[in-house]
């Protein structure tokens, strides 16, 4: 047993034999140990600390790997304590407060249904285990995890145009009823935004907000059109455990959708936001704590523009160091992650303040095609990204290096990624939907 002690003799130089006082804290009651300070050698690394806690918890037979975060600096401990102290300019006489939690295990890959062409867009529903995939041959599929495609739809609407974006009309809603129809939208390179309108130029991305009943559509020329979708005329997906009933309903809804299509096409946009000088590649609605809704848009003109949807005005324009390919907004702390053409992922703490510290995550070898923050509140720092080089990476923004690099067996260009409901979904030019069950439900 490591003695539970009062401070020993003062430690003057930091060498490997010396020890440091450590206070170990956990927010999970089942892993909590006594709050007293422990004297730990400086050569200890994550594994040694983890085994120490397992020892304290008397879990030697079934050990749980732990990760440690310094409470003061908020950085993950990945080196020895000595190196950590040196990097933080601390001496060994301080009491180190370390928070620990079960470490994230590498996710295991499983394959979803195979699609006939490149999957260019993947969106999972936030509450229902359904994944919407858009294909480059114009086919749209709603899949239920590994079990297979629930239905494919809108092939006749998009014809042979490649789908560029899909979106659920999601949002923080209490709709958990299995019987409810869920609305989604899809758009293609030919300018068709399914169930909404036909645009003059190819659509690049979609963002839908259930709270405002708005759909934002951006095109290759940098224009953003916002449509009111309150009339519930989008595509629908049945949410039903019974596959037969689902097939029937889908047929029904397909005909209904086709009937309504003509009148929908003439639908006029509620507002047009013009300002980007080049293609807009990412759109996202974000709700502020005060209830205001902002629309973030980013594009090849190396800017992020924040629009006030109510007033149709640009709230701010933030210059970026390179063209933006993808963007994700953290639903909990509002941080914005951007993927760039220069192979970097950048995480912006406060967008208005250019001088604010930015985290640059590098490691990808091509365009960072899509990004997703962890949907659970417990791991606010986790970010998933995918890249044209066929590797998707899981990042902890407290670390410079990725936590895991998720490789696919065949060389593939990954084009889309989403992270919902404890699953990371990614897909690319092989047409295969990759599922990574990654349930980090931390307190």
């Amino acid at each position: 047993m490591v003695p539970d002690t009062t401070p020993a003799a003062p430690i003057a130089p930091v060498d490997d034999d010396s020890q440091i006082q450590v206070q170990l804290i956990s927010r999970r009651p089942e892993y909590a140990v006594s709050a007293a300070n422990l004297l730990v050698p400086l050569s200890f690394k994550r594994m040694s600390l983890s085994s120490l806690i397992n020892h304290l918890l008397e879990r030697e037979t079934n050990p749980v790997p732990f990760d440690f975060v310094s409470s003061e600096s908020g950085t993950l401990i990945r080196t020895s304590l000595k190196h950590y102290l040196a990097s933080q300019n601390l001496n060994a006489e301080t009491v180190l407060k370390l928070e620990y939690f079960p470490s994230v295990l590498p996710p295991t890959r499983s394959e979803g249904p195979q699609q006939p062409d490149w999957i260019t867009a993947v969106r999972a529903h936030p509450h229902v285990p359904l994944v919407l995939t858009g294909c480059a041959n114009g086919e749209l599929a709603v899949c239920r995890g590994r079990s297979g495609t629930v239905r494919t739809a809108q092939a006749e609407v998009h014809a042979s145009y490649a789908l560029s974006a899909v979106a659920w009309l999601d949002g923080l809603t209490d709709a958990h009823d299995d019987r409810e129809t869920l609305d989604f939208y899809s758009a293609d390179n030919g300018g068709q935004c399914y169930a909404t309108a036909t645009l003059a130029h190819g659509v690049t991305c979609l963002a839908a907000s259930r709270a405002l009943q708005l759909l934002a559509v951006s095109d290759t020329r940098g224009q953003i059109e916002i449509f009111d979708v309150s009339a519930h005329d989008a595509g629908c997906a049945p949410v039903d455990a019974d596959a037969d009933r689902a097939a029937k309903r889908s047929k029904k809804s397909r005909t209904a959708a086709a009937a309504q299509q003509q009148q929908r096409r003439t639908k006029l946009s509620k507002m047009t936001l013009a300002g980007h000088s080049d293609r807009v590649t990412a759109l996202a609605f974000a709700t502020l704590p005060n209830g205001e809704t902002l629309l973030y848009s980013a594009g090849w003109d190396s800017t992020i523009r924040v629009w006030d949807v109510a007033t149709e005005a640009v709230r701010c324009t933030i210059p970026m160091p390179a063209s933006v390919v993808s963007m994700a907004i953290n639903p909990y702390d509002g941080r914005v992650a951007t993927g760039h053409t220069d192979r970097q992922v950048r995480v912006w703490g406060r967008l208005n303040d250019v001088s604010a510290e930015t985290i640059v995550l590098s490691g990808h070898m091509s365009f960072v095609s899509d990004l997703a923050w962890s949907p659970s509140r417990g791991d606010v720092h986790h970010l998933a990204s995918c890249c044209y080089d066929g590797v998707s990476k899981l990042w902890d923004t407290r670390l410079k290096e990725p936590l895991f690099s998720l490789k696919v067996p065949k060389m593939e260009k990954l084009l889309a990624l989403d992270w919902k409901q404890g699953h990371i979904y990614s897909a690319g030019d092989i047409g295969c939907l990759h599922l990574y069950p990654h349930d980090v439900t931390l307190a």
């Binding site: 490149w118 145009y161 030919g190 130029h201 063209s323 053409t341 192979r343 365009f367 030019d429």
Partner: protein, 765 residues
């Protein structure tokens, strides 16, 4: 007595001046008896200036040592002048004169002789005989002190010296005698007395008032003569002959007694035979007309070199130029110390350890002690070393080496850091896979969404640039040699040249509205007037190919006019090219050039003017299409032009050639390239200008693409700034082809390259 020293020197100067200019040299006379210092200075000034014509003799005070100069000519006068001097009681001057006299005694021996004889005459210095008997002394007549005494040596009573008289004007005395007693001022005559004395005294006209003595004095006859001569501007010396008779020592006349006894040479009176022959030769030559006078040599105009460095540093080069010997000092050698001494102190001698250490170094000379110089043994290597030294001096004389002072870094032009010129592409981020054989051509649509590429595998592919997905593939019968996307963003059509055909193809993945508009537009087009040249095949209407134009030779280049209505096609067969301009809206084709015997590699329309650039094998011809004339011919010194690109302003042209050159032409500059760069090791296949960024690129068969920054300035004075930024190792050289095509993205600083390895790559920042 500084006040007197000055006049002395002055007079000496004046003496020389007078002598040089042959001015009449006056004997010493003091007219103004009390000259001030100022007057003396004036005198000096006037005496210094020999050109002074108005010789104001009244102010002149010429010192008595001048008399030495004139004694040889007029000894009596000098004596007289001295007498006058002493009579004028210029005691101080006299003293000075005596001092000078002693100094110049040797020179002026005559004068001193005179004075001695004078002294003996007056009986002051008589040698006293030993057997002197007063009875033997002869009776001499009584001397009347009034009339017979000689006053020449009379001392001046007043001893105040040569000072202004007014200094004593307020005093009752006029000076002091030798005993220091004041000399009372003599009673002043009133005007009546003066008049009376003038009337009574017959000599009153020659009487002057002496201020020093305070009494009147009569001038002597000699003095009067001198004054008269001076007033008449004659030489003061009456004995001087200003016009002596000329004596001709050397004359032209034959002398009875010549200076040399040499007989007259024969050739002085005999006519020269050789001269006569020479003259005759010239006469004959002139008669024949052979002799023409020498051409008049116009000496080249010499310009004064104001920038020449007059204080040339004594370098070897300068010395060499000036043919001067240039001494090169031998390098300094350290002076021998105790170690080298033949009798060094004991502490300098070697210990056994030192000897051991030194034994390894053959060049070291260990200090050795000898009690006497004669004990030192003969240096065994002396002969050999002196021989080698001589050999060195003979074979390798010391010379001044010219070292270049130019820093090598300064020869490199100052270019900005490439990092400052970002953005430029450097990373291959999207790879377009699909073609089976080498890429031959590529084109990007004006919105920057689509890329069309033609390949040797007889297919044309249209790619989505962002994702790299091939959206359309069209198979042809022959290689697709050229593609060109319409510059009109609303018209999703592109041209493709394959074999002898030009295909007008719509982009099936273009936005629905554009496709619909294009189809409506094509429906309204008239049927082609020339069936042979241009025909619409019915089966193409449903597919992507809309129009097919047949030419008489394989198409090798296509280019659009900026409005997207006209386009030009070049078809080449057996090194002969045909250039056809097609109009899409009228379905018409025309041959603007009746015959082109040359091979045309590229043709481009000017981006804003009706000007056509035609790159033939060795020249670029610039035609104005409106005026039907050749505007300019660019002459790159290249063997075979492979590619051409136009700056968006139209004022700059890039050329690539198969002989590895990359050339930048400024249309306002000249017909020769502004810059010709050879960065590639193999043929340049394609060059490209970016539409909005100051970037250009050259693609080569060596598999690399060079990115250049090329800022073009609006003012005509500043030359374009061309900075090489980056070499992209883009494609592998496959079947002797490297990078075949490079295209800039219309809106982003991105580059797309296509190569012989059947890949296309998108390079981004």
């Amino acid at each position: 007595m500084p006040a007197q020293a000055a006049p002395t020197t002055v007079t000496r100067k004046s003496k020389r001046g007078l002598k040089d200019t042959q001015e009449p040299a006056p004997a010493s006379v003091v007219v103004s008896s009390t000259p001030t210092d100022e007057e003396a200075e004036k005198t000096a000034a006037s005496a210094d200036d020999p050109q002074e014509e108005d010789f104001d003799f009244e102010n002149v005070q010429i010192h008595d040592d001048d008399e030495d100069e004139f004694e040889s000519a007029s000894g009596d006068e000098a004596f007289d002048s001295e007498e006058i001097d002493s009579e004028a009681d210029l005691s101080s001057d006299d003293e000075d004169a005596e001092a000078d006299e002693e100094e110049d005694e040797a020179e002026a021996s005559d004068a001193s002789d005179n004075r001695r004889s004078l002294a003996s005459d007056s009986g002051f210095e008589e040698t006293i005989d030993a057997n002197y008997n007063p009875e033997d002394w002869p009776e001499l007549p009584e001397i009347d002190p009034e009339y017979n005494s000689d006053t020449s040596d009379e001392e001046v009573e007043n001893t105040v010296g040569n000072i202004p008289a007014e200094w004593y004007a307020h005093l009752p005395h006029i000076g002091y005698n030798k005993e220091g007693k004041p000399i009372a001022r003599p009673a002043q005559k009133d005007q009546i007395d003066e008049f009376l004395s003038k009337v009574d005294d017959p000599k009153s006209w020659q009487t002057v008032f002496d201020n020093l003595e305070g009494k009147e004095r009569a001038l002597t006859a000699a003095e009067l003569t001198l004054l008269k001569r001076l007033q008449d501007r004659e030489v003061p010396d009456p004995e001087f002959d200003p016009h002596p008779d000329t004596v001709e020592w050397f004359t032209s006349e034959t002398m009875t007694m010549p200076l040399t006894g040499k007989p007259t040479p024969k050739n002085s009176f005999l006519p020269s035979k050789w001269e006569a022959q020479k003259v005759m030769r010239l006469v004959r030559a002139i008669r024949k007309g052979v002799a023409v006078g020498r051409p008049k040599v116009v000496p080249p105009k010499k310009h004064y070199d104001i920038w020449k460095d007059k204080n040339l540093a004594p370098t070897y080069t300068n010395a060499y130029r000036q043919r001067k010997a240039f001494h090169i000092a031998a390098p300094k050698i350290r002076l021998p110390g105790h170690t080298e001494s033949y009798n060094p102190p004991v502490e300098y001698l070697m210990t056994p350890e030192d000897e051991e250490r030194l034994a390894k170094d053959p060049t070291a000379a260990p200090p050795t002690r000898y009690t006497a110089m004669r004990q030192i043994p003969v240096y065994s290597d002396a002969m050999r070393e002196s021989f080698e030294r001589c050999l060195d001096l003979y074979l390798c004389p010391r010379e001044m080496r010219k070292k270049s002072k130019i820093n090598a870094d300064k020869l490199v032009p100052e270019l900005p850091d490439p990092e400052e010129l970002r953005p430029w592409p450097s990373l291959p981020n999207v790879i377009f896979r699909g073609h089976r054989r080498a890429i031959l051509c590529s084109s990007i649509d004006p919105s920057g969404t689509w890329l069309a590429s033609g390949s040797e595998d007889c297919t044309l592919r249209i790619w989505d640039i962002e994702t790299g997905r091939c959206s359309t593939r069209i198979k042809f019968e022959e290689k697709v040699t050229t593609v060109a996307w319409s510059p009109d963003p609303a018209m999703p059509i592109l041209l493709a040249g394959s074999g002898t055909h030009v295909y007008v193809i719509e982009n099936p993945q273009a936005p629905r509205m554009d496709v619909e508009r294009l189809r409506n537009y094509l429906r309204t087009l008239p049927s082609p007037p020339n069936k042979n040249l241009d025909r619409v095949e019915e089966e193409f209407n449903e597919g992507a190919i809309k129009i097919l134009i047949e030419t008489n030779a394989p198409v090798n280049h296509l280019a659009w006019h900026r409005r997207g209505d006209y386009f030009v096609s070049v078809s080449t067969l057996k090194q002969k090219s045909t250039l056809i301009i097609h109009q899409l809206s009228k379905r018409n084709s025309q041959f603007p050039f009746t015959s082109t015997k040359q091979l045309i590699s590229r043709v481009l329309f000017h981006p804003s003017q009706p000007i056509l650039f035609i790159a033939t094998q060795k020249r670029v011809k610039v035609f104005n299409l409106q005026r039907h004339e050749l505007v300019k011919t660019l002459k790159p010194n290249a063997k075979w032009i492979s590619s051409m690109a136009l700056h968006p302003s139209g004022d700059h042209v890039l050329l690539g050639s198969y002989d590895r050159r990359f050339m930048w032409f400024d249309m306002d500059w000249s017909a020769t390239p502004y810059k010709s760069l050879r960065f590639h090791s193999e043929a340049v296949r394609d060059v490209a200008f970016h539409r909005s960024y100051p970037l250009s690129a050259s693609a080569s068969d060596d598999g690399t693409v060079n990115i250049f920054h090329g800022t073009v300035y609006d003012d005509l004075l500043t030359n374009p700034l061309i900075v090489p930024l980056k070499t992209l190792r883009a494609h592998k050289n496959t079947n002797y082809t490297g990078v075949m095509t490079c295209q800039w993205h219309p809106t982003q600083p991105w580059l797309i390259t296509g190569g012989g390895d059947s890949l296309l790559k998108l390079w981004t920042t």
